[in-house]
Amino acid sequence: MALSSSHLLGLEGVPAEDITTILDTAKNLKTILDRPIPKVPTLRGITVVNLFFEPSTRTRISFELAEKRLSADTVNFSTSTSSVKKGETLKDTIRNIEAMKIDMVVVRHSAAGVPYFLTQCTDANIINAGDGRHEHPTQALLDMMSLRDKWGTLHGKRVAIIGDVRHSRVAGSNIRGLVTMGAEVMVCGPRTLIPPGIEELGAKVSYNVDEAIEWADALNILRIQLERQEKGLFPSIREYHAEYGITRERLERAKKELIIMHPGPINRGVELDSDVADSDASIILDQVTNGVAVRMAVLVLLSGMDSSQE
């Protein structure tokens, strides 16, 4: 099964067959992680550059592990060690790296559209590891993989994304991917954190978290950042927790089994209480394991694609 693109820039426009291929492949690759030697030689001789222009620990480690499990050679480039701060343009940076003969680039950047921009500058396969508040496709894929593991299918299931949807690339990719796979999506948060026109992507909107809990089969809870309060988007952490925090009491009132997800890192006691995060309903650690498998799948599937041929 061939993917329809040689890059993974986002989930917008990615057909259901591609998502299914990635999730199926990830499921098979996941078994490698439990082996005594959790490594296969598939990407031997392939050089992958992890270009991180924004601090990230989890995503970078997850990609790096995925690359190493597939025997790729990896190089890490992050802002602290880069020349970006000395005024080099992004284009020069990528051209310089490409001149060192690389095959794939995993990129994270604070500006939306950077992965697309890179496809215009290099022949390498580009994988988006998060661009601004635009997309974070591998996160959405691992979220979908975790849900599919639980449910067997995504079709007809209801996922509510709770929190700062406005600034969330995780929400951006999840909405697109889930809608493509036939799931229903609701976004829920204070109105100041819900972007205009989000319904156009296929998501319902609610400002009432109890309503979202009532409606949903799974909750994907986003990290709330303190700087949003400083910008006046919500009055206080206290009020946020009171109105939108996912607590045991809230869930018990719903009287049903809900799956709890969080892309991490969690602000315990703010958007999500500890007893919920660590409960049986939580699949947060499955998400982390699946993250490696999904990233392996994306790397394997894209490495078979020659982007210069397009």
Binding site: A2, N28, P36, V40, P41, T42, L70, M305
Partner: protein
Amino acid sequence: MEVKVKATIIDAHGLERTLNRLAHEIVERNAGASNLAVIGIRTRGATLAERLVKKIEQIENKKAPLGILDITLYRDDFRRRLKQPTVQATEIPFNIDEMNVILVDDVLYTGRTSRAALDALMDLGRPASVQLAVLVDRGHRELPIQPDYVGKSIPTSIGEEVQVRLRENDNEDCVLLVEAPKEAE
């Protein structure tokens, strides 16, 4: 795509007989089935392995553990092919350490698949021995690999292909010599 069949090498009865013989040879060489594991290479090697396990059980009254090996991730032409591979799972739900592993494939040709399979096996553990069983050996080896058990050796030319058809996969049992389709892998 319709392929041109040049000859039937083994028919349904022949296939049954061949597998019976192979099962006997395996049991004899390994003095029973006590430390034996049978692992087939996807797709038809796995089917043959499943049949061999049943036949060995009939002979020895003991079921050898059965495994399926997917070697896609170990192929040496992975990056060269433009089409993306389908990665399927390896299903070996037992420890292969100190086992006598019978590695089963349908056709032995260049030896590259067997090489990949050996690498894949070694990543899973340290078997006491690995023995290679193939239904057809068609020659043209590119690597120093020889089978331990052969159903039938058939001299072929490069422009030909050996097609193993099995009930479970193809609704019939036979081995055909066909004209190689263009763009063959």
